[in-house]
Structures are given as structure tokens and as C-alpha cells.
């Protein structure tokens, strides 16, 4: 690509418009979060973060994220493998079903889980008898997070696995490799970077999930409050400094993920050049 310098009014105008848009939509909010969080000084900021409910919310968010990422990694690998290495009836249907979480509103997804596992559910008596709490409890939050982040890894993997075809796996099979060996020694190294990229996207989405989790959580402080829910509660209580302080954690996590994402992209490109 050749870098062309803008030279007329129209081009400068368009660039200016984009810059203003970026400033208003992305940069200013970030600055605002930081300044609001530190408005009453470092001590208040640290206290807000150290508060037990905030810490608990952070741990719950991390717990749900780790569970969602682990679950979706396994599931994403399996479904991408299925979609690209095998032909079967209903493949197109399966493929479009995977995108359902992208299309459906997270709130609706949350409601689905409430209907499925809540008091109105036909299996509720059974759950109750077995003392299994799903709605208004941690399992519900994890389920909701898994649901909304469901397609990320599969969608990253399918195009690259489709482009790579099946012949490397077939070659390994003709040499007597087992399914597991083929996956571990042939498929996995080929999709490594796409997989990591998918995991990062999935993590970013899981950390910030609000809608679906909000419906199933029940907002019990110290028990079923994730970070985004905790921020909402603080904000509704007019505790702005604490709300922004906690929000800054999510911002920092987001920035770390962005850096990781760029590192992975850069590394994957370099790997491609070295024929790796």
C-alpha cells in the first residue's frame, strides 16, 4: 500500500470528521472515566476498589469469564472441526444456528434462561429437590456469559480451517495417525493463532457482558453481582466516584486485551511470513 498525503480541502475535511468522531466517541469517555474515578483522590479510588463487594464482583466476573472462555474454546474447536472437516445433513442450519447469540438481544437470552431454569420451568421442582440453584446464582451467570460469547471462537476458526481444507488431515490419516494425533499435531498448530485471537475476543466480550447476566443474576451484592452490574448499582446510588473507579478496572482490562490482540496479530503475521 502506498501512503498518500491528503492534499485538498475535502480530504482534510473527511479526516477531521473522523478524528472528531473518534475523540468524542472513544477518547473523551476514556479520559472521563479516569478523571471521574480519581476526582476525589487516590485514596478514595483505592478504597472503592478495595471494598469487599467490589472485590467479590471482580472475582465473579473473572470466574464467569474463565468458565465461558474454557467452555467456548472446547465447544468452538469441536464445532469448527465438525463444520469444516465433515459433511452432514443440516450443516447449513447448524452453521446459522451458531450465529443466534449474535442476532438475539442479550436480554432476551437472559429471559430464555429464566424460563428454562426458573420457577416457571417444568424442571424447576427437580432442581429444587436436588438443591441446584441456577437462576439468581452463579451457574446462571456462567450460562448467560457462555451463551453470548458462544460464536466468537467458532467464527474465527471456520474461515481459516475452510481455507486450509482437509487434505493435511487426510495425509496424516493415510500414514496411520489417530484422530487425536491428527488434531494435536496437524490441525491445532495450523489454527493456533486464529484460536488465540478468538479466545481474546471471547474474553473481552465475556468481561463486559451486562444484558443477559443482568436478567439472570438477581443483583445480590457479594453473591451474584458481576463488575458491570456492580457499576450500575453504584451509579444508581449516586456513588459516582466509586462507580467510575470500578469502571476503570474494566477499562484497564480492555486495554490489556487490545494490546494482547495486537501482539497476537503481529506475531501471527510474522509466523505466516516465516512459513510457520
Amino acid at each position: 500500500m502506498v501512503a498518500v498525503k491528503p492534499h485538498n480541502f475535502r480530504q482534510w475535511g473527511l479526516i477531521g470528521l473522523a478524528a472528531v468522531f473518534l475523540l468524542v466517541m472513544l477518547v473523551l469517555p476514556l479520559i472521563l472515566v479516569a478523571s471521574e474515578a480519581l476526582a476525589k483522590g487516590w485514596q478514595v479510588y483505592l478504597d472503592a476498589l478495595n471494598e469487599p463487594f467490589a472485590r467479590k464482583a471482580l472475582f465473579l466476573t473473572l470466574e464467569a469469564t474463565v468458565a465461558a472462555v474454557l467452555g467456548n474454546t472446547v465447544f468452538g474447536l469441536a464445532s469448527a472441526w465438525l463444520l469444516t472437516k465433515y459433511d452432514f445433513r443440516g450443516k447449513a442450519f447448524w452453521s446459522s444456528l451458531l450465529d443466534l447469540p449474535f442476532a438475539i438481544s442479550p436480554v432476551v437470552a437472559g429471559l430464555l434462561f429464566v424460563i428454562l431454569f426458573g420457577r416457571m420451568s417444568p424442571i424447576y421442582p427437580f432442581l429444587r429437590a436436588e438443591h441446584i440453584a441456577i437462576i439468581f446464582a452463579v451457574p446462571g451467570i456462567i450460562l448467560a456469559t457462555v451463551f453470548v460469547t458462544f460464536p466468537f471462537i467458532t467464527r474465527e476458526l471456520v474461515p481459516i480451517m475452510e481455507a486450509q481444507g482437509r487434505s493435511e488431515e487426510e495425509a496424516a490419516a493415510t500414514m496411520g495417525a489417530s484422530g487425536w494425533t491428527i488434531f494435536r499435531r496437524v490441525t491445532l498448530p495450523n489454527i493456533k493463532w486464529a484460536l488465540i485471537y478468538g479466545v481474546i475476543l471471547c474474553t473481552a466480550r465475556a468481561l463486559g457482558e451486562f444484558g443477559a447476566v443482568s436478567v439472570v443474576s438477581g443483583h445480590i451484592r457479594g453473591k451474584t453481582n458481576t463488575l458491570p452490574l456492580h457499576i450500575e448499582i453504584l451509579y444508581n446510588e449516586y456513588n459516582f466516584t466509586a462507580a467510575f473507579a470500578v469502571a476503570s478496572i474494566l477499562v484497564i482490562l480492555a486495554v490489556v486485551i487490545l494490546i494482547l490482540r495486537n501482539l497476537v496479530e503481529w506475531r501471527a503475521k510474522r509466523g505466516l511470513r516465516n512459513g510457520n
Binding site: Q164, G165, S167, E168, E170, A171, A172, A173, T174, M175, G176, A177, T181, R185, V186, P189, N190, N274, G275, N276
Partner: protein
């Protein structure tokens, strides 16, 4: 000679498409076989079924006398070279070749010795630390060949092995592959849609069309005695004529008069001096002349029928619209479902007169 591969009454459908429609074939041990046919004729499906990468709907596959229908690909004792090579992109040349041996838990010392021998065989000893992307097409092809050979298979299967290589390298590689396979003595089957390649490389050719075998045999036999209209048409650059009895010397054909003419059956002359038997020749008009490097191909219209023939560059050049004399030596006829070679009778008459 011992039979290495045998297919009996193989049927295979992909949806409504009949990829194999009662395929029967045998391959003798130690032979290099070319599976030749137009695209969509089912040749790759046959190869993949022998390998165990596809499964027939019905019929039996035997390798070395053993029915292998239910054996997975990895236990059939075959090596497979894929059309796009399918080298493991994240492994070096050495690692690619060693893969099959590692999977079979061969001791590392033996692996090293065998890989050393193979990189030597394919002439890539200096490049054994490179990744597939750093190799040329011809080099990748040779790595794929070595990788397939490493576990010492009974049978080597190659799917369009030269399709993705440029013309010059392809010629060299054909010779190399033929020589190497004969030197190793391994039974091999390769798929191709290119008849020159099949004729040049294979000991025997099996011609497929619409999912079944049309004819099998040595290249020369197939060339000279095509058993079906399809083979006569497919092999060589043939021209169909709806009625060959319109031509001089072929007036007394019986039954169906449909025939096939090959360029080498024709002699195209600029004038009477150039031709031995001018009386047996037809008058024609040159319609097009194509330069083909070592000779020219001439399209000439005779009695409303466009025929193709070769002409030496040493002879007087012909141009579009020129009059020409065309001597038709022989015609393939398929009256009654049997192949017949019909010779020009006017030729014989003329020689009697002189």
C-alpha cells in the same frame, strides 16, 4: 504376475451423482498405472476409495489379496500424494517426511537414517530444514512423494501429481518420478486428465468415463486399438465425422457410417507434387493454420466437414483460404458397437494401376 489391487463391482454415489458405476479393475504388482479420464469421470474417487479416504456404497476392494473395505486408511499399507501436496505447513521438510514414521513409533535412530536416505533420493538434502512455503512447486511435490514413501507402503497412490507444476518442471519431474518408481519397484497408481502424461509415464493406462472403466492396457494398445468410441475420441486429437462414406476410398462402409479421424490419419498437401497418391486424395480448403512449435496444425474443410491434420514446418506454408489436397489414410468406425479400422480403398486401387 501377482495382482496387487483389485476392484470388484464398485458403486459410489454422491447424492444423485454416480461417481463410480460398476468399476472393475486389476493392477499388477510392480506396475505404474495411469488412471486417465476427463474431469468428473470418477478417477479421483477410485483412487480415494483404494486409499480408504472414501468408502464405496457397494463392491469390494482388495489390496495384496486382502479385502480392505473395512480397514481405515492408515492400515492399508498405502502412501498417498495429494494434488496440492498437503504438506504439513508448520513442519520442516524433515519433519514432514518423518511424520508417518513417528506415528508408527519407529525408533528415532531408524527415522533419522530413513529420512536422510529419502531427502537424498529427492535431492533436497540441503533444504531439509525449510518449511513448505519456502519451496518451489516441484520441490514440494518431491517432498510429498518422499513423505508418502517414508513408511514403506506396498502401494503408492498419486492424485494429479503434476497438475500444479509449470510446464518445464513438469516434464523433468515426470521422467524423474517414472525412473524413481521403477527403481523402487513399488506398485503405483496415478490419476491424470492429461493423456500425454499418462502415455509418457504409465506402464498401463486405465481409461475412465462416467464412473466406469472404458478400457485398460498398455498405452500403445489403447492408442492403436480403441475399444469404444469414447476412447477413440478421447485419446489423440480426434474429429468425429457423421458419415465417412462421403470421402474417396471409403464409399462401401456398412451399417452406421459414423467415424473418427485422427490428425495422423491425414496427409495434407499444398499441391499434387507433394503427395504420393493424388488420385486418392480429396480437394479441400484451408480454414485455419495453428503454429504448434515443432509443426503446424491445419484445419481443412473437405466436403463440408472440418478435419485436422499436422504439417511439417519444412513444407510450403499454407494459408487460410488456400486449396489443399487431403489424403485420408484410415478411419475408425464403430458400426455394431465394434471398433474397426477402415483403410482407404482408393489408395490400394491406385497402387494397382501404377
Amino acid at each position: 504376475m501377482a495382482i496387487e489391487v483389485e476392484l470388484k463391482h464398485i458403486h459410489k454415489n454422491f447424492g444423485t451423482f454416480k461417481a463410480s458405476d460398476d468399476v472393475n479393475l486389476t493392477v499388477e504388482k510392480g506396475k505404474l498405472i495411469g488412471l486417465l479420464g476427463p474431469s468428473g469421470s470418477g478417477k479421483t474417487t477410485i483412487l480415494r476409495m483404494i486409499a480408504g479416504l472414501e468408502h464405496p456404497d457397494s463392491g469390494d476392494i482388495f489390496i495384496a489379496g486382502k479385502r480392505v473395505n473395512d480397514l481405515p486408511a492408515g492400515r492399508r499399507g498405502i502412501g498417498f500424494v495429494f494434488q496440492n501436496y498437503a504438506l504439513f505447513r508448520h513442519m520442516t521438510v524433515r519433519e514432514n517426511i518423518a511424520f508417518g514414521l513417528k506415528v508408527q513409533k519407529v525408533p528415532p535412530k531408524e527415522i533419522k537414517a530413513r529420512v536422510d536416505k529419502l531427502v537424498e533420493l529427492i535431492g533436497l538434502a540441503e533444504f531439509d530444514g525449510r518449511y513448505p512455503q519456502q519451496l518451489s512447486g516441484g520441490q514440494r511435490q518431491r517432498v510429498a512423494f518422499a513423505r508418502a514413501l517414508a513408511p514403506e507402503p506396498e502401494l503408492l497412490l498419486l492424485d494429479e501429481p503434476f497438475a500444479a507444476i509449470d510446464a518445464k518442471v513438469r516434464k523433468e519431474l515426470r521422467q524423474w518420478l517414472r525412473a524413481t518408481i521403477h527403481q523402487l519397484g513399488i506398485t503405483s497408481i496415478f490419476v491424470t486428465h492429461d493423456q500425454d502424461e499418462a502415455v509418457e509415464v504409465a506402464d498401463d493406462i486405465i481409461i475412465t468415463n462416467h464412473g466406469h472403466v472404458e478400457q485398460a492396457g498398455p498405452p500403445a494398445a489403447i492408442y492403436q486399438h480403441p475399444e469404444t468410441p469414447f476412447v477413440a475420441d478421447f485419446i489423440g486429437e480426434s474429429v468425429h465425422v457423421p458419415d465417412y462414406t462421403v470421402f474417396k476410398g471409403f464409399s462401401n462402409g456398412a451399417g452406421s457410417h459414423e467415424g473418427i479421424l485422427r490428425p495422423e490419419f491425414l496427409e495434407i498437401a499444398a499441391d499434387e507434387e507433394e503427395i504420393l497418391m493424388p488420385l486418392a486424395a480429396e480437394q479441400g480448403t484451408v480454414k485455419a493454420v495453428y503454429f504448434r512449435g515443432s509443426n503446424v496444425q491445419v484445419a481443412v474443410e473437405v466436403k463440408g466437414q472440418l478435419l485436422h491434420g499436422w504439417r511439417s514446418l519444412e513444407k510450403k506454408p499454407l494459408h487460410e483460404g488456400d486449396k489443399a489436397l487431403v489424403l485420408i489414410h484410415r478411419v475408425y468406425s464403430f458400426a455394431g458397437g465394434k471398433t474397426q479400422i477402415i483403410e482407404n480403398s482408393a489408395k490400394q486401387e491406385e497402387s494397382v494401376v501404377i
